[in-house]
Symmetry: C2
Subunit: 405 residues, 2 copies
């Protein structure tokens, strides 16, 4: 049967993800028995997650709490929203109330819901350039035109942002929000400076635009100083936060949240109720107990985070050792380093060859860019592979690099 | 801050759910210490779910499988898709392949995805009248105009369906699919006869329309004879199935699926990848082990189902005893009975009074209807309450009934 005629016009806005293609190709190779080293994932390390503890906890929950197998309210377990409000106050300096928190199916679910209530087809959305490919795709699926503003080591370039906003407004286009990942950005690993954060807030205020702050990597910070999220600096309710425990508990649990106020919160909740009911209930109870029992401190801050810091440092050392002089970002948060091949090099071709000839999987940077730049960028993940894999992966990458350039 | 100006036009299509309002009101009363009997839920009974077994299983999974805390592929764990294909072959006579199965976040997630790739604003969608309120809301949120076709004890009235289709086509409107819950329909509890199933397939074929078969209640059948799903009768690939284990494992696990072929499957998967990544991973592993170990037979068919059958029979007995002569549906599947108050009675007012004065929560039928009919309908759930609660709830309902009519 031919299904094409039934598809909605909006289905033509759906694009495949280059990320999904890399992963598919890699799993094809693996299923043929090829051993690969992956520096491609966007995952934390299952070895740094206390699975033993989570296993015990989950057994306890399922046995002890009948409601743990049932729906929760659409905005999430009240006790969990309460706990998260306290957690965000303590670790993020965010002053919010349980009423402004809606528990979502991961941070991804939060972003999709916001897109659904904010984006009309043809609306312009400003993002960092590059930015997280799946969010770009998600917004484009809703009919958004995505315009990127370049990023340097201090985050989004706010001067260019302001120019861009004026241009969009002068063209008569609708611009509702700026989407940003200020801390440990995906894919660059860059963290926005406080000065830029303040400038961004001022610009958004001046032009009356919302900011969606994707805080996915806020619990993967490798320096001791406090990095205040935009929301903690926001006095107007202009910043809408999407957050997640994916990097703490593991990506499979699907517990995230949106922090929104007033009519926006109401609409998100009304949109959500009939389409996803609730985030997975056991995951919500696991999150609740994990936070309540102080496991964030005990397991994530004291065990997980030092492990990720070590792996980040190992990747930087390997890059310096094997690719002296190469350009790459040096993150203070997140899970990624962006490596730049020589100008005009084709990162897509390089990544393909690296996988096929050296058995090392990386993600080309190009698909994360909103324009034709970034052809030579390669996104490297250090959180999931072991230190040995990092060392070997970068060594092999350097071999190919030297053959090609 | 005023958020209204930022909202998308489509946000005006979002309507509140009368169901959500009933539940909210009920939980307000409960939080004030009022003891309520609820015949309102759309849940199975946590006492009939082997939570002890699931608890042990989950502990095993989290401890033993590092991947259980990570993302799965967007279409779900390959082993689970394989297992479900076999399961559907065995219990549903559906001949499908793992490739045509996409694991979704509950059946609700499956319906939303289908709506997203099929519905353009202004498209007409045909549903049963009444039909499941949250699906109606979900389709309306996407801009669909919902048109209902009445249901009797044999399911959707196919003659009226055909008239309705001709009318829609002659008006030049786009009609892409018919949404139906053929077995244990929500809210009526009615199961479509085989004759009507065949007629429905013929009509859809003649007018070249897709059918979305919501199989949410297919594992809650109370008669021994086989009731073949539409998909098992479909020779053209015209039927797209949404299914779920929510009524088997519990609603909180959020594991469902869509069965779709060719380009439709591809588009659903592409739409899904950036917006929900994957159904919760532990839930997918729990579902896998539950099916693989034969627990569906051991716990659901042998323990759960007989328990639900008893409760259904208890509710029917109570209705006959306390409300002799009242009209209600007699289900052979599902979790609901539809009770009809005397003609012209106001079911919304009755439900409100019943909750406030008698402490019994029911869901008014009206919001499930696509037109002004059903004012006098009341949806009763028998799967969640205990037999004692059913008896007491119906007795109290009858008290108010006799006061009012």
């Amino acid at each position: 049967m031919r299904y094409k005629k039934f598809l909605a016009e909006r289905a033509s806005w759906i694009k495949g993800s280059a990320l999904a293609e890399v992963m598919k190709k890699a799993s094809e190779l693996q299923s043929r028995g090829v051993k690969l080293i992956s520096l491609a994932a966007g995952d934390p390390d299952p070895k740094l997650i206390p699975r033993e503890v989570l296993g015990g906890l989950t057994g306890e929950i399922l046995r002890g709490i009948p409601a743990s197998v049932m729906y929760t309210p659409a905005n999430g377990l009240p006790e969990l929203r309460e706990e998260i409000a306290g957690f965000l106050r303590k670790y993020e300096s965010i002053d919010t109330s349980p009423d402004e928190i809606i528990i979502t199916i991961g941070g991804t679910g939060a972003l999709d819901l916001l897109g659904r209530v904010l984006i009309d087809p043809g609306d312009v959305v400003i993002t960092e350039n590059p930015s997280y490919i799946n969010t770009l795709l998600a917004f484009e699926q809703l009919g958004a035109k995505v315009e990127g503003v370049p990023v340097d080591e201090d985050g989004i370039k706010t001067e260019i942002l302001e120019e861009k906003i004026r241009k969009i407004i002068s063209r008569g286009q609708k611009l509702k929000f700026i989407y940003t990942i200020p801390t440990g950005q995906n894919p660059t690993g860059v963290t926005m400076s406080e000065e830029r954060r303040k400038a961004l807030l001022e610009i958004a205020s001046e032009h009356d635009i919302l900011i969606i702050e994707d805080a996915a990597y806020n619990f993967m910070k490798y320096e001791d100083r406090e990095i205040k999220p935009l929301k903690a600096l926001d006095k107007e309710g202009r910043v809408v936060v999407t957050g997640t425990l994916s990097k703490v508990l593991g990506t499979g649990f699907r517990v995230g949240w949106v922090i929104a106020e007033g009519e926006l919160r109401d609409k998100v909740l009304m949109e959500k109720s009939p389409i996803d009911f609730c985030a997975p209930t056991i995951s919500q109870y696991i999150a609740l107990e994990y936070l309540k029992r102080g496991y964030f401190e005990k397991y994530h801050l004291k065990v997980g985070l030092p492990g990720y810091r070590e792996k980040k440092d190992a990747m930087i050392s390997s890059l310096k050792e094997y690719l002296p002089g190469a350009e790459f970002t040096v993150p203070i948060a997140g899970m990624f380093i962006m490596l730049f091949l020589p100008e005009n090099a084709d990162g897509m071709a390089f990544a393909r060859e690296l996988m096929e000839r050296k058995g090392v999987v990386v993600v080309p940077g190009k698909p994360f860019y909103t324009d034709e730049s970034g052809r030579n960028a390669i996104r490297l993940n250090f959180s999931r592979p072991s230190r040995e894999e990092i060392e070997e992966g970068i060594r092999k990458l350097a071999e190919l690099y030297k053959e090609r350039f």
